[in-house]
């Protein structure tokens, strides 16, 4: 059976493609962006997750654990993922859901059933979006889900880094109604430093897809100190305007709300805790750069 580890299914998604959508978040990503807003989606395996804000501190989980994988400290429950066998006893024991698995293994059929649930809401433009993590990192599963959507007459779109082999990208483009792809940084060295990978593959995928006339939306995440400088935006503008097809570019503002996830993971948050969205005037100024290059920016 083809499965994937799905870490969230967001119904009534209204910012992940056209219309009303159901977004499927699949675990595992080849990139490791320093600002990742879904850090629980980076590794493909299911792990234990701890939501500090809803924990009542009863320690039932510690009592239930037979592997000494949990302990209590000044930040709440600390998880030793190496010791954890994912037996799930602590999950059953937790009365609030603060201790839970960060994802669920789902088959293609189960995933399509979830997508079916909101069919009355999709209308002609809404549908399903595969996101992540990186959906192209689970190609067999993702492609089957996309084909399933198509067979059911449900519009299917993807959110992707496009960091994948060209033949994989082409397979996706054949089964997808729209590809929403990021260009985070135009300079290869800076891209490598910030995401752990080189962007040559990504840019060539974009160029090829544009050449084929694919329905493509480019998103540029504006990350303070990483991607929000004029030089980067100008470089991206030049690149997009050099493509064979006119492509819409969306500037996505920084999302500070993922901070608590880093706390749950006890991972380093790259930003000042007080870092907030980039001011609207600044975003408009950056948008202006795109417009100067003849692009339509949203």
């Amino acid at each position: 059976m083809i499965t994937a580890n799905v870490f969230d299914i967001k119904r009534f998604s209204i910012n992940d493609g056209d219309g009303i959508r159901t977004t499927i978040f699949i675990k595992g990503c080849p990139l490791a962006c320093k600002w990742c807003q879904n850090p629980e989606g980076l590794i493909p395996e299911i792990r234990l997750w701890y939501a500090r804000n809803i924990c009542v501190g009863c320690k039932s989980c510690i009592a239930a654990c037979g592997h000494d994988a949990l302990r209590w400290d000044d930040r709440g429950i600390a998880i030793d993922h190496k010791a954890c066998t994912r037996c799930g006893k602590c999950v059953v024991a937790c009365p609030t859901g603060a201790i839970r698995f960060d994802a669920k293994t789902m088959s293609v059929e189960e995933t399509l059933e979830e997508i079916e649930k909101d069919r009355p809401f999709y209308g002609p433009d809404g549908g399903a979006t595969l996101s992540g993590g990186e959906c192209m990192a689970s190609p067999t599963f993702s492609l089957e889900v996309l084909r399933g959507c198509r067979a059911r007459g449900i519009n299917a779109q993807i959110e992707t880094s496009l960091y994948a082999r060209p033949e994989v990208v082409d397979a996706f483009s054949e089964t997808t109604d729209k590809i929403i792809a990021d260009i985070k940084l135009i300079d290869p060295a800076r891209h490598w430093l910030a995401t752990g990978v080189d962007n040559t593959l990504i840019l060539s995928n974009i160029r090829r897809l544009a050449g084929k006339g694919e329905n493509l939306l480019i998103r540029v995440p504006l990350i303070p100190g990483f991607t929000d400088d004029e030089e980067n935006i100008r470089g991206i503008a030049k690149f997009v305007s050099s493509l064979e097809k006119d492509i819409l570019v969306e500037l996505l503002n920084f999302n500070p709300m993922c901070r608590e996830k880093y706390e749950s993971l006890r991972a380093t948050y790259q930003f000042d805790p007080d870092q907030r969205e980039i001011p609207r005037e600044r975003v408009n100024a950056l948008k202006e750069i795109l417009t100067e290059h003849g692009l339509v920016a949203i």
């Binding site: 119904r11 910012n15 804000n53 009542v56 009365p95 809401f121 999302n255 706390e263």
Partner: protein, 784 residues
């Protein structure tokens, strides 16, 4: 694309009138009570319908009247606006107990003049003791009602029954003068029943007098006024309406308002519903627009003047009743849009002018209801969505695709069903021919469940209230739980129906309503008062409360106790009796670790539906005293709070006395973790044909959704799905700052607030606190 009608400006006049109205203090008034008492004192021997007609006529003749500076539409039942009218015939005992505390009570206070308190205590109250509806019912079935009251609350025991949609179209077609002629002609035909017609005629004569008094006052004021022309115009309109049917749009609007004022003076009841105003006012509007005597601007101004009027009559309730129905909702329910008799869209220019008026004023009245169906235009749904986004909670939405079949299943004709309107908050009715008695009683299924798990003993008081059915400890299987709950429901059901019958009979006996009978089809023809069954349709509605809590409680029992054996029944029973004292972890488990209604989980939603359907089927075995069927409603308005106070701890992890789910169809606060689409799917499983008395679903959205055209378009798509899913009703509230502040204090109630960012999802309550605070700070609508 916005049309010109959607952008008409708010006139200075309307703006001023609104400011002045809300600046005025609200008083309780005994003026009409005095007049009515005088009439009863002098003519107590007359038949009750004549006595009532005389009392009304006398009030219409004597009550002090006022025309406010700037008003175009005139008329009220008191000189002050939003006054609480004390009305003796229906009940005064509560007034006697509460009159001094009216200014200081927490919900819906009114000021009262000292001399009025004295006059009430010395002249009015002593005369009425033992004579009011309230006293007589207390005498007849008081003990019985108290014995079942925590489970089956009987309504309409201390006020007249409103919740009716008069035939305004007929009133406009004939006017009071024309109706007098008709009543006289019918009297000739019914020589054995002349007394009935005498009552109608007296009340209609009073109506004519009332209109002429306004004409006289306007003329008198005109002499020294800067707005002499306007006042003379008012005088002309009022005089004309006392003699003939309205001809212009303005006359029709004024005539409609007079009708509702006089109906309120006759009955002082909650909700005389105007119904489909955009339909029956249309011929007047079109004629005047065509002839050039009316502009879009002046039509809108008249509608807005009427909207202000809808806010000037409020309904004084006892402090207990005010808890159930907070904010003195008076239920001027105006339905717009929908379909015509051929199933084509009935939208017209007036539809959009009514929306624009709501857009401008954002007041609690009218209760504006948008009828929607598969054939509704995108423009209509878009305009409705934009107005919803302003945060007044209106228009609320009624779905023709669900309502029409539901009404037809209760014996309503196709033509009448397609022409339905709404009374009160959400109760369904046909137009002008139906006494729906839609709020006969409320049956608290959650209390019945509490009793079912504790051998019929109330866990709050320790009193034996219901049948002996054993306790949770005794129930070996989930089936035993179900059996016990059914026994408890049966125990209260018969008793409730018998009380409802006595109440309805008492209304017919004590509160016949001759004026209302003139504008409800069939009464005049067959010579029977509306309260005695004269209307073409005679229904009675009883509310089943609250399916969400029943589903959550039973699902928790089934999952954690019977299927997974994670919770011991003896331990849980003890915890329920002790309100989860020293059992917090058990409570959290019941709350968090069992599936809940509202999350698109078929088997849990089916529990809600099963109990609703069973309840509706039980009701269908009975016929009311007017010969019509009973039907079920699924709504509480604000009664989920006091009704929750009557219920002990429940297996869904709810503490004793906590509110029940709000609305009627809504999931319990904060338990809908999968967003609005899942809620709508769950609600759609409680099939609409069983909610023919009306259902209520509340949903909340963040205001940002309505800030962009794209967001509005997505909201419209949600409405289209609501239509397709055949859900009867939904009302959308825009989350305001207060909601979000509450979310910070009690995050467990707001689990379902999700923050929507591209490629990202998280629940509000799992965000860091400083970020929660910032979202709050950014959320607008603080003033609403």
């Amino acid at each position: 694309m916005k049309s010109k009608l959607d952008q008409l400006p708010l006139s200075l006049r309307v703006q001023k009138l609104k400011e002045v109205m809300f600046a005025e203090e609200r008083f309780a008034s005994i003026e009409q009570a005095k007049i009515v008492t005088d009439v009863y004192r002098a003519h107590g021997e007359l038949p009750r319908n004549i006595l009532r007609a005389l009392a009304l006529k006398e009030a219409l003749e004597r009550i002090e009247i006022r025309i406010t500076e700037g008003e175009l539409i005139v008329g009220n039942r008191t000189t002050g606006v939003r006054a609480g009218v004390i009305f003796p015939e229906s009940g005064l005992s509560w007034v006697d107990r509460e009159i001094e505390s009216l200014p200081t009570r927490p919900q819906d206070p009114f000021r009262i003049r000292e001399e009025d308190v004295r006059s009430f205590k010395e002249e009015i109250f002593p005369f009425w003791q033992g004579k009011t509806l309230e006293d007589i019912l207390d005498d007849r079935i008081g003990d019985e009602m108290r014995a079942i009251g925590k489970v089956a609350k009987i309504n309409q025991t201390d006020h007249a029954q409103g919740h009716i949609c008069p035939n305004t179209e007929r009133w406009l077609k004939y006017g009071p003068a024309g109706l007098i002629a008709e009543a006289k002609a019918e009297r000739e035909q019914h020589t054995d029943n002349t007394v009935f017609y005498d009552g109608l005629i007296l009340s209609l004569e009073g109506a004519c007098l009332f209109m002429r008094r306004y004409a006289a006052l306007a003329r008198e004021m005109a002499d020294n006024s800067v707005r002499r022309e306007e006042l003379l115009e008012i005088a002309l309109v009022c005089d004309a309406l006392s003699e003939r049917a309205p001809e212009s749009f303005r006359e029709a609007v004024q005539a409609s308002w007079f009708l509702y004022v006089i109906l309120q003076m006759e009955s002082n009841a909650s909700s005389f519903s105007p119904g489909r105003m955009d339909q029956y006012l249309l011929p007047y509007y079109e004629k005047d627009i065509a002839s050039g005597t009316l502009t879009h601007e002046s039509a809108l101004e008249l509608i807005e003047c009427l909207f202000l009027k809808f806010n000037q009559i409020v309904y004084l309730r006892s402090s207990g009743s005010a808890k159930y129905f907070a904010g003195f909702p008076i239920g001027f329910n105006v339905a717009i849009g929908g379909q015509d008799e051929d199933g084509k869209t009935a939208e017209n220019e007036l539809t959009f002018l009514f929306l624009r008026a709501q857009d401008h004023l954002l007041l609690p009245q009218p209760n504006l209801s948008a009828r929607v169906f598969a054939g509704s235009s995108d423009h209509f749904l878009t305009r409705c969505s934009e107005v919803v986004g302003k945060g007044s909670g209106m228009p609320q939405f009624f779905n023709d695709e669900a309502v029409i079949p539901a009404l037809k299943s209760k014996g309503i004709s196709d033509e009448d069903a397609r022409n339905y309107a709404i009374v009160g908050c959400v109760e369904l009715t046909t137009m002008g021919n139906n006494l729906g008695w839609s709020d006969a009683a409320m049956f608290n299924l959650v209390k019945a469940l509490e009793l079912a798990l504790n051998d019929g003993v109330c866990t709050l008081t320790g009193k034996q209230m219901g049948a002996h059915t054993g306790t949770l400890e005794d129930f070996e299987t989930y089936g035993d739980v179900i059996k016990s709950l059914n026994t408890q429901i049966d125990f209260f059901f018969e008793r409730m129906i018998r009380c409802c019958e006595v109440v309805e009979q008492a209304h017919a006996e004590l509160l016949p309503s001759p004026f209302l009978s003139c504008v409800i089809d069939n009464c005049m023809k067959i010579g029977i008062d509306v309260t005695a069954g004269g209307a073409h349709y005679n229904l009675s509605g009883i509310q089943a409360i609250q399916c969400a809590n029943v589903a959550d409680s039973l699902a928790a029992l089934k999952t954690l106790v019977y299927d997974e054996n994670l919770v011991d029944r003896k331990e849980l029973h003890a915890a329920l009796v002790n309100n989860f004292e020293n059992a917090e972890l058990l409570r959290l488990r019941m709350l968090n670790k069992a599936p809940k209604y509202g999350n698109d989980i078929e088997w849990v939603d089916a529990i809600a539906f099963d109990w609703a359907r069973d309840f509706a089927e039980r009701l269908s075995r009975y016929t009311n005293v007017r010969g019509g069927p009973y039907q079920m409603g699924l709504y509480t308005v604000s009664a989920h709070v006091p009704m929750g106070q009557n219920v002990g701890a429940t297996p869904d992890g709810r503490f004793a006395k906590e509110p029940l789910a709000d609305g009627g169809m809504s999931p319990v606060y904060g338990r809908d973790a999968k967003g609005p689409t899942a809620v709508l799917k769950s609600v759609s499983r409680v099939k609409s044909e069983y909610g023919s008395n009306g259902t209520l679903l509340n949903m909340k959205f963040l205001p940002s959704l309505f800030h962009t055209e794209l967001g509005v378009a997505k909201f419209v798509r949600l409405l289209r799905a609501f239509i397709e899913l055949k859900i009867i009703h939904v009302q959308f509230n825009v989350v305001n700052r207060e909601d979000l502040l509450a979310a910070q204090k009690q995050p467990e109630l707001y689990k379902s607030l999700t923050i929507r960012v591209a490629g990202y999802t998280a629940y509000f309550i799992e965000l860091a606190h400083d970020l929660q605070r910032e979202i709050i700070a950014r959320t607008e609508f603080s003033e609403l």
